[in-house]
Symmetry: C2
Subunit: 300 residues, 2 copies
């Protein structure tokens, strides 16, 4: 029964943290009445759609793990990361990229606001992410600069955008292990890693600590993407809440396509177990450990 209570506490902790993030995002985004109205409506539409807020929670809990001296600033950093994530989803959905008309069960940004406004809303959300991170004067400047360095690298051509390009260019090609590792590391894992390490970096820039946290985040991020690939193939659309079987239709390079389904499950499990034991060694109070387990939950 204790474990059941723990799990309920954990789930409600997740949910309440996601709600706090949503409220703060609502304040950080320009209001709908500010000119140009269409742009600000589009930015808010695509950023305030709820969701798990996994990246934001990783940032907030990463900061807590490292000492939690600046919880308000960590919340803002978490919102900055959500803005950046929202921009990538808007651009991914555009006709020239994945041409996806639905996002979280709602019309994609470009369907609702047109392609030009969607493109520009994404651009503005990326700038807003860095603007938010540049504020927060209670955090030492050194830490804020370090956090901006982490996020800008993760968002750049060698990571997130590079992964998106490799993902697009890989469509229809025979999936190799090298290709899927290249894509998943860049397209997904690095921003998840950046989320937890930006949170930690607001407290400490001690290289060993940051490196360890970033590497755990990278492995958790890879597990997350592998689970996503598995769900796309085997999930129940009504439970997962988005259109499935898209990867096959597009000939996307996925982990199961390169390694097989059984091996994908084993790898996700092993990655999560490794993340849990390494985060415990850093003094996690149990929440990050549960969060890593939660990544697997949907397929277990």
């Amino acid at each position: 029964m204790g474990s059941q209570t723990d799990n309920n506490d954990f789930s409600s902790g997740l949910k309440s943290t996601a709600e706090i993030v949503e409220k703060r995002l609502d304040m950080l985004l320009p209001s709908e009445s500010e000119l140009p109205v269409s742009l600000h409506k589009a930015m808010r539409y695509s950023t305030l759609q709820g969701g798990k807020r996994l990246r934001a929670i990783l940032c907030i809990w990463g900061h807590r793990l490292a000492g939690n001296s600046y919880p308000e600033e960590a919340l803002d950093a978490a919102c900055a990361i959500e803005c950046l994530h929202a921009y990538t989803l808007i651009h991914d959905d555009l006709p020239s990229i994945d041409d996806d008309g639905l996002r979280r069960g709602l019309p994609s940004c470009h369907i609702r606001f047109g392609e030009a406004i969607a493109l520009l809303a994404g651009d503005a959300l990326q700038a807003l992410a860095f603007e938010i991170l540049s504020r927060g004067a209670r955090v030492p400047d050194e830490n804020r600069i370090y956090a901006i360095g982490i996020l800008s690298k993760a968002a750049g051509s060698r990571m997130l955008v590079g992964g998106q390009v490799a993902d697009l260019e890989g469509e229809g090609k025979r999936p190799t292990e090298d290709m899927v590792k290249f894509i998943h590391r860049r397209k997904t894992a690095e921003l998840i890693s950046a989320s937890i390490s930006v949170g930690a970096a607001l407290e400490t820039i001690e290289p060993e600590m940051i490196e360890e946290i970033a590497d755990i985040g990278r492995k958790a991020g890879l597990a997350f993407q592998i689970v996503d690939d598995i769900l796309d193939q085997e999930g129940d659309a009504s439970v997962v809440g988005k259109g499935l079987r898209k990867d096959d239709k597009r000939g996307k390079i996925t982990w199961p396509a390169a390694f097989g389904m059984a091996s994908s499950r084993d790898t996700a499990r092993a990655l999560v177990d490794e993340c849990k034991s390494r985060i415990r060694a850093l003094g996690d109070d149990g929440d990050l450990e549960k969060l890593f387990e939660y990544i697997l939950e949907r397929i277990s």
Copy 2:
């Protein structure tokens, strides 16, 4: 004759500074051999096309005006601003925005590399701008954070992107004075202002100095855009080096359309004169003054 020599010195100063910026950009951009090759080729293609490098020079000379303690870092900041500017040009040219197939006499990025790669190259160039600004450890962290704050605000939905949206949404509408002021301030003037104030901010964050420099930059930027509007209407395409008469065809909101041609010339002249006298009062050695005059040169 002295003034002729001065002008020659000034012109060669401009040219040699632009060449230094070009060389440094070439080093700061990922090489063409780095994966994904298409992405890095597109980023380099659109950023290394030469040009006047007005924004970069404003950043470098703004830093010189404020004390010039970190010339190498100011050069990097100048390159960061050029990356940001290049991203805005790539996205502006996309079919869903201005649908422009030519840029500086060459095929636009999306004509050369396809729409998806062009879009993503722009995204990565924005991230790279902030990554470059987050480096440069000799500059006090406080100054770097301040500079990032200036540039991220200038790039955001309330400024640059907001101006782009207003410009698009204004097409075909009757131009009013309020509309053209709203658009020009945001679309053009604020990034030119940010260029000179980012350079200054690497040296000083004394609010009065930064505010004065930023405001001079805003006026110079407005003059620049008014001159651009005049040239679009009256210029000689072979001299200006780009397709002209586009504003009319698209029904763009321009300064001459709102205020008339004669008044536009007078306003540009008056703005430049004001910039010159205010920058002299800040101890400019004459170069920024000449640079402001140079903005007008093409129509005088």
